[in-house]
């Protein structure tokens, strides 16, 4: 059985556009609302990344931190997150779901038990921000055994030698961090430079699906259309915060943002034709 993540990339490619990946924090602003958001954006998005909120995140900027703290304050626990995934999958069983978080949460839950729960609830991939290669080798192979993609991260600081080794050990999807930044930073390097780094990765192995994340917004998404996939996270988390501030409905507002992002990708399509 192939992983739905692979299928999502194939579909996007057949439509001559990058896959759209969104990141929202589980339980933001409430358990119920985060599920509603997933359901509402589902048909516009190719792959859903769901953040497992942690209270000492060393790689997240202010928007995702705000979302995470809000979700934790509103009582989200890991088991609730599995429930959210499970409920979402009842609604749209083929939509790939990736959990993204920090290793301590997995470590406390127990790697095996965590993966068992991932499998039962329908998680298709995992991104563990602070479990780099080669530390992640054992856990990554445990994921593989259960047909869950362990998604390796690459950064502009990753040396060429290291790139090769990580790509060799990677599963079908790879996450390239566009620049030196925490999540949600302003895009401080040119799209050209990002894409040149991206090309280096693709050159080593063109079959891997490489997504680009960090600094991607409605403004910047067009410039990176060449990638296999693009991840938007902070811009969405920030929208939830703004909606709450303005006493508007986050579900509608997030849908609108995602809809515009998707349109931008489809527009490209038309231009290309």
């Amino acid at each position: 059985m192939s992983n739905p993540i692979s299928h999502a990339f194939k579909k996007a490619k057949s439509e001559n556009r990058p896959a759209l990946l969104t990141y929202t924090v589980a339980g933001d602003s409430t358990k119920k609302q985060s599920l509603e958001i997933l359901k509402s954006i589902s048909k516009k998005v190719d792959i859903l990344e769901i953040g497992v909120p942690h209270n000492t995140p060393v790689a997240d900027g202010s928007q995702i931190q705000t979302s995470s703290y809000r979700a934790i304050k509103n009582g989200i626990k890991i088991n609730d997150i599995f429930k959210i995934v499970k409920d979402f999958k009842k609604f749209d069983k083929n939509k790939p779901v990736i959990l993204m978080g920090y290793y301590n949460m997995i470590f406390q839950y127990g790697e095996n038990e965590f993966l068992r729960k991932c499998k039962i609830s329908g998680v298709n991939g995992l991104i563990v921000v602070d479990l780099p290669w080669p530390e992640n080798k054992k856990f990554a192979s445990k994921c593989k055994k259960r047909s869950i993609f362990f998604i390796q991260l690459l950064s502009p600081t990753t040396t060429k030698n290291r790139l090769k080794k990580i790509i060799k050990d990677s599963h079908e999807m790879i996450y390239f961090i566009s620049m030196l930044s925490t999540t949600g930073g302003k895009l401080k390097v040119s799209p050209k430079e990002i894409l040149s780094n991206y090309d280096k990765i693709k050159k080593i192995n063109s079959r891997k699906n490489v997504v680009i994340g960090f600094g991607i917004t409605e403004k910047t998404i067009k410039s990176l259309k060449k990638a296999d996939g693009l991840v938007v996270g902070s811009a969405i988390c920030g929208e939830i915060t703004n909606s709450i501030k303005k006493r508007q409905n986050p579900v509608t507002n997030v849908y609108n943002v995602v809809n515009r992002l998707k349109k931008k990708l489809n527009e490209l399509d038309n231009k290309n034709n």
Partner: protein, 411 residues
């Protein structure tokens, strides 16, 4: 799990940076792998380089002011009526605390690596103050991350940092204390690691930072060993070294040179912050049996809930107010080389009162925790037992808190 002899503890980690196979490591975002590796290569090279060591020693001697005093607390000894109580007055060091050693070494490393900016975290403000001093001395720009709550309660050190030209960046996330300052500093480094050097203010963080800090503060025990031999002719037969433990930098440095002695001869006692007597919150993960978890890039015993969220701590002393503990101390605990216990806020304050009543010494609230346990235990020790307490900080920074809790006459 075993402690090896004749190998420095900082070098007893495995290839991936784990002590005892499970403490420490490098749980960091991919972006930091390269800068950490660069720093490791640089540090491993320089710590064997005679010129570098001479340079370090020159600054330690002429600028930090080494050795710091080793004094007998005659009146306190008489009052307690048991062991001889001595103190290593590390607060004599330039800037008033042990944090100067790590800050100096990090700035020397930053210079060698060609970086022009250094960033650091701080709790009590000492790590930040010292880093700002060292940065100024070595011509580096300096950014200090500090919890907003700590900025309010440690004003004298904040003023000192600013006077030294450092930018103090308040951190408003989470509990607004040291744990959040370290997180924010690491995030800043993630975004700027190509141009900026990072100094982690204690023996915590990714493995190389644990090692650099432990290597730097070991100056304390090098001095002490010489001073003990000068005073007693040899290292005493019954020696007990008391030190407060927050992240664990001063205690590790205070003990390192004595690591290979049998613990019956040289016992190490680490005193964690037990927090307010009436509160369930504390900053004593070793004493109260916290589980192993990952915090700031390293596996360690850490206060956390069952989900793995890091728990808020509470302590009167900002310098000890940290939910985790150095991997080195986890290792020393599990190999049973050191013994750990805690003192409450109230006990620390009582110890401060007692020490300042009998002696011309004003330990800050951090070492007051160590004094509390040392005084209590000294009563039952024989007169030939040598108890040494590391007075690793000066109470000047705590004036506000001490005045509020004990009244003006104690300031």
């Amino acid at each position: 799990m075993k402690l090896k002899k004749r190998i420095p503890v900082i070098d007893q980690g495995d290839k991936l940076g784990f002590w005892g196979g499970k403490f420490g490591g490098n749980f960091v975002p991919e972006t930091l792998k390269k800068p950490i590796e660069d720093l490791e290569i640089l540090f491993n090279k320089l710590k064997k380089d005679k010129n570098f060591i001479n340079e370090r020693d020159k600054y330690f001697k002429n600028w930090v002011g080494s050795p710091t005093r080793f004094i007998k607390l005659e009146n306190l000894t008489k009052h307690v009526g048991g062991a001889q109580i001595w103190s290593k007055v590390v607060s004599d060091a330039n800037g008033g605390a042990h944090k100067i050693y790590n800050a100096t070494v990090h700035c020397l490393l930053a210079k060698r690596s060609g970086k022009k900016v250094i960033c650091g975290d701080t709790g009590a403000g000492y790590a930040g103050k010292m880093l700002s001093m060292a940065a100024k001395k070595f011509g580096l720009k300096c950014k200090i991350f500090m919890g907003a709550k700590d900025i309010r309660r440690q004003q004298p050190n904040v003023k000192a940092m600013k006077k030294n030209g450092a930018e103090v960046i308040p951190v408003y996330s989470g509990s607004q204390t040291l744990v959040d300052a370290v997180s924010e500093c690491m995030r800043y480094w993630v975004a700027n690691c190509d141009k900026v050097a990072m100094c982690v203010g204690s023996t915590v963080g990714p493995a190389v930072f644990v090692r650099i800090c432990g290597w730097s503060t070991s100056q304390i025990s090098r001095e002490l060993k010489t001073q003990l031999v000068d005073e007693f002719g040899s290292v005493p037969k019954k020696l007990k070294l008391y030190n407060c433990v927050g992240g664990g930098s001063s205690s590790f440095g205070f003990w390192n040179e004595f690591m290979d002695y049998d613990k019956k001869q040289c016992e190490f006692i680490g005193v964690e912050a037990g927090g307010p007597a009436k509160s369930k919150k504390h900053a004593a993960p070793l004493t109260y049996g916290s589980k192993i978890g990952i915090l700031h890039g390293a596996a360690q015993y850490v206060n956390q809930n069952t989900d793995g969220q890091i728990e808020e701590t509470e302590s009167i002393s900002a310098g000890l107010d940290y939910p985790g503990i150095s991997p080195l101390h986890c290792f020393l605990k599990d190999t049973k080389r050191a013994r750990y216990t805690a003192a409450s806020d109230e006990e620390a304050l009582r110890a401060y009162k007692l020490v300042t009543k009998f002696e011309k010494l004003r330990p800050s609230l951090e070492p007051s925790h160590a004094f509390s346990v040392a005084i209590a235990e000294s009563k039952r020790f024989s007169k030939d037992t040598i108890v040494v307490v590391n007075s690793c900080g000066d109470a000047y920074k705590d004036r506000g808190i001490i005045e509020k809790r004990l009244g003006k006459k104690y300031v």
